[in-house]
């Protein structure tokens, strides 16, 4: 049952990255869209995301619940030492979720108020994945120091460091990329689609650049990133598969495919997470000085894991079919592939 719970944990983290990430990405796209096109971008986005965005963010709740029920020690350590970035991420989630909802449910669509919601929405859409990435960057790279003696080394420099921040920026670019690819298939006309293709291209380049930076900074800070990714066959294959599918994705875009490409984009992000996740498994949090917090060692007692696993299995029978039906009902139907 422990492995089932772990599978659910990774599954929900992955889906939060993909679906929540694409949501944040839509805000990032809006942030980098010229003023003339903003309102069209918003319209497409609203049509595509309106019904589903709340559900997209539920994956975070599921992941958090699995963490504190199933792996309370790891959750406790993350909450203690990464208090500040988690807090900033929460602020981002709060600001973004409410601004998105408020701008649609403000009965009087005044220019000043709408602009105000838009500003909050786009900036928080940028900040949230940035800090999500920062947190991910610092747990995998031995930045958490449980023996730290000063406030700065215990609570600040474990996340405010070059490696974590570049991972954060990489996450932002990936989110934007996911959203752009998704929106290509939701565009109302060719003009819009072309604009989203251009955005996808820019975000793709940004992701490559920041990805390169991640390797560069890792090398400077003696983080064994190269070894993690190229040192074992599974991670290596994952990275290669991601690269091939990226090439295929662009090929398809230029052949006029607009829907199926989103599967490729999701596949690439999945592979990136897989390659990092696999190399560290079963460790989730790497602590400075060599200690690791492992999912296989630091879990809740057997009975709890069993009950949690059961709840998740039953829950997924309820959630997944209805979620699929929700996505199916509200997507554009004209061109399925």
């Amino acid at each position: 049952m422990l492995y089932i719970v772990i599978a659910f944990l990774f599954f929900s983290i992955l889906l939060y990255f993909l679906l929540g990430g694409a949501d944040f990405g839509a805000g990032i796209i809006e942030l980098f869209t010229s003023a003339d096109n903003k309102s069209r971008t918003r319209k497409t986005m609203y049509q595509a995301m309106g019904p589903i965005w709340e559900a997209n963010h539920m994956w975070l709740i599921i992941a958090v619940v699995i963490m504190f029920v199933g792996f309370p020690l790891i959750y406790g350590a993350m909450c203690t030492y990464l208090h500040i970035p988690l807090l900033i991420m929460l602020l981002g989630i709060t600001a973004r979720g409410t601004a998105f909802s408020f701008r649609n449910y403000d009965a009087i669509k005044g220019e000043t108020t709408q602009n105000f919601y838009n500003h909050i929405f786009v900036y928080s859409s940028f900040v949230t994945p940035l800090f999500l990435g920062i947190i991910a960057g610092s747990v995998v790279s031995r930045q958490i120091d449980i023996h730290a003696t000063t406030f700065l080394s215990a609570y600040i420099f474990n996340w405010l460091n070059w490696f974590s921040v570049t991972v954060g920026l990489f996450t932002v670019a990936l989110s934007g990329y996911l959203a752009a690819v998704y929106l290509i298939g939701e565009a109302d006309d060719d003009n819009d689609a072309r604009r989203f293709i251009r955005k996808a291209w820019q975000m793709n380049i940004a992701a490559v650049i920041f990805g390169g930076f991640v390797f560069f900074v890792a090398d400077l800070e003696n983080i064994q990133l190269v070894h993690w990714i190229f040192g074992n066959p599974v991670s290596l294959i994952a990275v290669i598969a991601a690269s091939i599918s990226l090439a295929l994705l662009w090929l398809m875009i230029y052949n006029g495919k607009r829907k199926i490409i989103r599967i490729f984009a999701a596949f690439q992000v999945t592979m990136v997470l897989l390659s990092v996740g696999y190399t560290h498994f079963p460790n989730l949090v790497m602590v400075k000085g060599g200690q690791n917090l492992s999912l296989l060692a630091h879990h809740a007692p057997e009975t709890t894991i069993n009950d949690l696993g059961l709840a998740l299995i039953i829950g997924s029978f309820l959630i997944l079919p209805s979620l699929f039906y929700l996505y199916y009902s509200f997507q554009k139907k004209e061109e399925i592939i």
Partner: protein, 437 residues
């Protein structure tokens, strides 16, 4: 402000706001489903308009409730990591199920809000019902987790170790039913009175009278019924507290000295130094009667509890009395509504009658806050009753008072935004719904 007090205050502020958003978020869908049903059955467009108007409120409150709930699920760990390390595996069951219920609610809400004219009308109606049912289920589950903190069970506590954990037993601890029942009824009466109050104000101002009258009626029937039955569930909760949290009950009643014919003290200012209540009205024997069903048998007072294990008495007592007195007023107003409905229909449009409901708008939520204060402050100094002290659970990170100020500011801003948006929705009722009727 020291970090421990700051952490407690931050938690109090977060829960204090979240409880309002979530009560409305779980009860409004039920109102909505009723008027939706009436629309499908009667074809009267007023009901469709009410449903759509309310659904916008639901969307606003759901979004706010969802983010404040996300904040809370993190705050449990951010502020109380030691508590979560030990309690997580024991009382996590209701949280996992709540995660599922909440997810289903979000999916159903997507269908409901965006599904007008898109689906079969009964399917669409059902998605609204699912929003309500899963919202109420979420509420019950979260309260069940809280009840475990009041009545920890489902494990053995041996030498500081938590052994033989049974999450299902922990979830169905002896307090879950009375607490969940009390909270659910409270949510219905508070939301019912608040919604009815706003519509009463609009009737009073003679705006869209047909629309607001029908909306008022749906809301107040739920609110009034809930307010009338609430005292019985309150009695159940108090009897449960006697058994499991005698310190909380004694603090609620500011009952210092164990004695036969145990009295109830109404109001007054408890003075812990002299162990007396100043200016209170004492009714001898009533506490004995409520607890033991006879006037003589003594109830254990605060003198049976070591001082270091006593909750703050003045806050608990005054919050309790506030809750009881408001609850009583709401019950009377509720009864009056049914009297008007069945015997004195002319009252329904009278100014004084409307004024009564306008005045009652915030009552339910004041009572909810007071009741929440009783249960949380009354449990202190424990975070897990009798097992772990709140001070042992707090995060080692310094500087929590800054985050306390930050979150206080956030919650006030959010609430102002919600009020602003709701008032704009209400203001636009004539433009949005009149032409269609």
């Amino acid at each position: 402000m020291n970090d421990f007090i700051a952490a407690r205050s931050q938690m109090a502020i977060s829960l204090g706001f979240h409880i309002i958003y979530s009560c409305i978020g779980m009860v409004m869908p039920v109102f909505m489903a009723v008027s939706h049903y009436k629309w499908i059955k009667t074809g009267n467009p007023v009901y469709k308009n009410i449903t759509q108007a309310w659904s916008k409120g639901v969307a606003i409150f759901f979004a706010t409730g969802a983010v404040s709930g996300t904040i809370l699920s993190f705050e449990l760990g951010l502020l109380w990591p030691k508590f979560m390390e030990h309690a997580g595996p024991i009382f996590g069951m209701p949280f996992s199920l709540e995660g599922v219920a909440f997810f289903i609610e979000a999916i159903a809400l997507g269908f409901f809000l965006y599904g007008w004219n898109k689906f079969n009308k009964w399917f669409h109606w059902c998605t609204g019902i699912i929003v309500g049912v899963s919202g109420i289920a979420s509420g019950i589950l979260v309260v069940s987790a809280n009840s475990w903190m009041n009545n920890p069970s489902g494990f053995d506590f041996v030498n500081g170790q938590y052994l033989n954990i049974d999450p299902i037993k922990a979830m169905f601890n002896g307090s879950w039913f009375s607490e969940a029942l009390h909270m659910t009824i409270a949510a219905f009466s508070a939301t019912g009175f608040a919604v009815a109050g706003i519509h009463a104000l609009m009737i009073y101002r003679k705006r869209n009278i047909v629309f607001h009258t029908q909306a008022f009626k749906i809301a107040i029937i739920f609110g009034a019924v809930a307010a009338i039955i609430q005292p019985f569930s309150g009695d159940l909760s108090a009897k449960n507290a006697v058994k499991r949290q005698p310190a909380k009950l004694a603090a609620m009643e500011a009952y210092f000295h164990t004695q036969p014919y145990s009295p109830i003290v109404i109001g007054g200012i408890p003075d812990t130094a002299s162990k007396k209540v100043k200016y209170g009205i004492e009714i001898p024997g009533l506490l004995s009667f409520l607890v033991n069903d006879n006037f003589k048998q003594e109830v254990n007072g605060l003198d049976k509890i070591p001082t270091k294990n006593q909750p703050p008495i003045a806050i608990t007592h005054l919050a309790f009395d506030l809750m009881i007195s408001i609850g009583s007023v709401m019950m009377l107003v509720g009864i009056l509504y049914f009297v008007a409905l069945w015997k004195k229909r002319s009252w329904l449009s009278k100014k004084w009658f409307l004024n009564l409901f306008i005045l009652s708008t915030p009552f339910g939520f004041i009572a909810v806050e007071a009741g929440w204060t009783v249960t949380e402050v009354g449990r202190q100094p424990w975070i897990i009753q009798g097992i772990m002290r709140t001070s042992e659970a707090v995060t080692p990170m310094p500087g929590i008072h800054y985050t306390f100020y930050l979150f206080t500011a956030i919650y006030f801003t959010l609430s102002i935004a919600v009020i602003f948006l709701l008032s704009r929705q209400i203001k636009m009722v004539p433009e949005l719904y009149d032409r269609k009727t």
